[in-house]
């Protein structure tokens, strides 16, 4: 396996290091060979070469079997969203150039962490849902600009039937491997692009007669995710709604710092923790590496290496059970360093 390693900014490099450590151990144990190719991205890349997703990095990603990604973002860009060069632009460019059209965001609970959730235990027990967010279309990539002497601004939300079909197909296939329930989240009572989503998914239903499809409006979902998260299983939605709902979903489990994600295209695959670059913790060896390590587990899983993935998940559960955790989870008990958790897991 040839893996591109994009550590990025803030705590990215530290958490990525632990994922590499654990993955290398898995490779050794199961007799695989992983070669890692580091490449620049984010603020680190802006500093080095003036742009957040340089062509040289894209070449590394394209040549790799998968990308393992840390986090990007730096406080010096925070108060100026209109700055010409920003780390986030690298993210969007990377998604588009690699064709990562499906962002796979699982939300599940760890029994030992369930009481950290802002929600009551009985509301979240058993929560195990996956949101598939469309990632290379919609209002993120439509035409935008200014008119009327800069006084009018516009953004365009556009979808083609083909774009909807390919993400919906992933949703149906995923539902077939799980409880055969698929929820299409849209705003079809207002938006034409949502009506295209809905009619496209409706037309595909007959190809998957075993899957029960429900259609819900995004505002209703924003409520029900907080009320009854465990009533959902596989959900598909457009880029902007997915941005909002995946983040909302991430806090309900109480284990936000542990949630992994994947972004996949026809060929490209990228794995990353859902947390940010957490600049205040950078360089202190205190960040929780588990989300990145669980993202590596998703990577093994997607390569069909199910046992390997399971080994990682098992040892993560063991570290939680035995309290070998970073300070965010230590609750007054001994807090381990980022690197110590990585060593222990490996």
């Amino acid at each position: 396996l040839n893996i591109a390693l994009l550590a990025g900014d803030g705590i990215g490099p530290e958490v990525i290091d632990q994922a590499v450590k654990v993955s290398d151990k898995i490779a050794e144990k199961f007799g695989h060979d992983i070669s890692w190719t580091p490449a620049l991205t984010g603020a680190a890349a802006i500093d080095a070469v003036g742009e957040p997703y340089p062509d040289s990095t894209h070449a590394v990603c394209e040549a790799a079997d998968a990308v393992l990604f840390g986090a990007i973002g730096h406080p010096r860009f925070d108060n100026d969203p209109s700055a010409k060069v920003r780390p986030e632009q690298g993210l969007l460019k990377m998604r588009q150039k690699l064709g990562l059209f499906a962002n796979v965001r699982p939300t599940f609970t760890f029994p030992s962490l369930i009481d950290k959730s802002p929600l009551k235990r009985e509301r979240i027990e058993g929560t195990d849902l996956i949101i598939l967010r469309e990632l290379t279309g919609g209002i993120y990539f439509g035409e935008r600009g200014r008119k009327d002497n800069n006084d009018t601004a516009f953004d365009t939300m556009t979808y083609t039937r083909g774009e909807v079909e390919r993400i919906a197909r992933k949703g149906f296939e995923l539902a077939m491997t799980r409880s055969k329930k698929l929820c299409c989240v849209d705003k079809a009572n207002v938006l034409e692009s949502s009506r295209l989503w809905r009619e496209t998914v409706q037309a595909m239903e007959k190809e998957y007669p075993e899957v029960t499809v429900s259609y819900e409006f995004v505002d209703a979902v924003a409520m029900r995710l907080v009320q009854w998260p465990n009533s959902y299983d596989v959900m598909i939605t457009m880029n902007l709604f997915g941005d909002i709902l995946t983040d909302e979903a991430s806090v309900i489990s109480g284990s936000m710092g542990l949630m992994p994600s994947a972004s996949v295209g026809e060929k490209a695959k990228l794995y990353e923790p859902i947390h940010g670059s957490y600049p205040q913790a950078a360089g202190k060896d205190i960040a929780n590496p588990l989300a990145t390590i669980l993202s590596a587990a998703m990577m093994f899983e997607d390569f069909g290496l199910t046992e390997e993935a399971k080994s990682i998940r098992d040892v993560v559960n063991k570290s939680l059970a035995e309290g070998v955790v970073t300070e965010d989870l230590a609750e007054g008990a001994k807090a381990y360093k980022t690197s110590e958790v990585g060593d222990w897991l490996a």
Copy 2:
């Protein structure tokens, strides 16, 4: 006071009746004169005259000092968001024709109901926030359509500086009457229309030097609303984000069935409960009328009739404390009918 009465569908007429009962009593007690003019809207109007917001209804609303609104929506429209005539279209047409550009959505907790929330008590205690949702612009009213032989659909999110200014001004003014904290919610790291919002609000900061303004991305807010709702006070946001966030916020208090709202323009004022038409309960005299009654309280407040508004709120609190409540709040104790709660409050 001349009030247009748009009862609408489902439980609308029943809850509106109680608000009228209580308002009439307030008028009697404080020596005001209210005349109510009923008019058709929603599915009821579609059945009667073929459209959900007929011109005759608009004329009634325009002539009135305020509109009291029940709820609209009927299950026979639910599975066909692209149907030519739908109740929701009436809602959008009404908002636009009356120029109701600001939707005012408070979220607060009732101490006696706090344990009904899906969130833990310590997360929500003290929550008292108001979201100002822009209601007549953005992607709800931009150009939309199909291209490429129906295979591409688009919607346009458009804002003008003037549209942002007038809602932002309401936000600043409201913040001045409260804790002087204003949060502008946008997606300025991606959307040009959000950048226009942010720069417009930034430019207005100097007019309100006492107000502390924060700028947050909508995805981060979707998280923080669940984590720390009581960290927010006044928030302003665009139409689509407001649709999602106001509904998300409504479930955190545990008192969703009690939340009132106002929609206001330069001149027009409309008051309505945030709950829907709840068709399953229609005609059974079991629906909770408190959200509509508290909406009437907002109406009195906006007319400067502060004592009148306070009387309503006080008696609502009393009914909750004494258990004079409908079945949704009865918790095994005696459940009162919708009309009985109205009578008791009056």
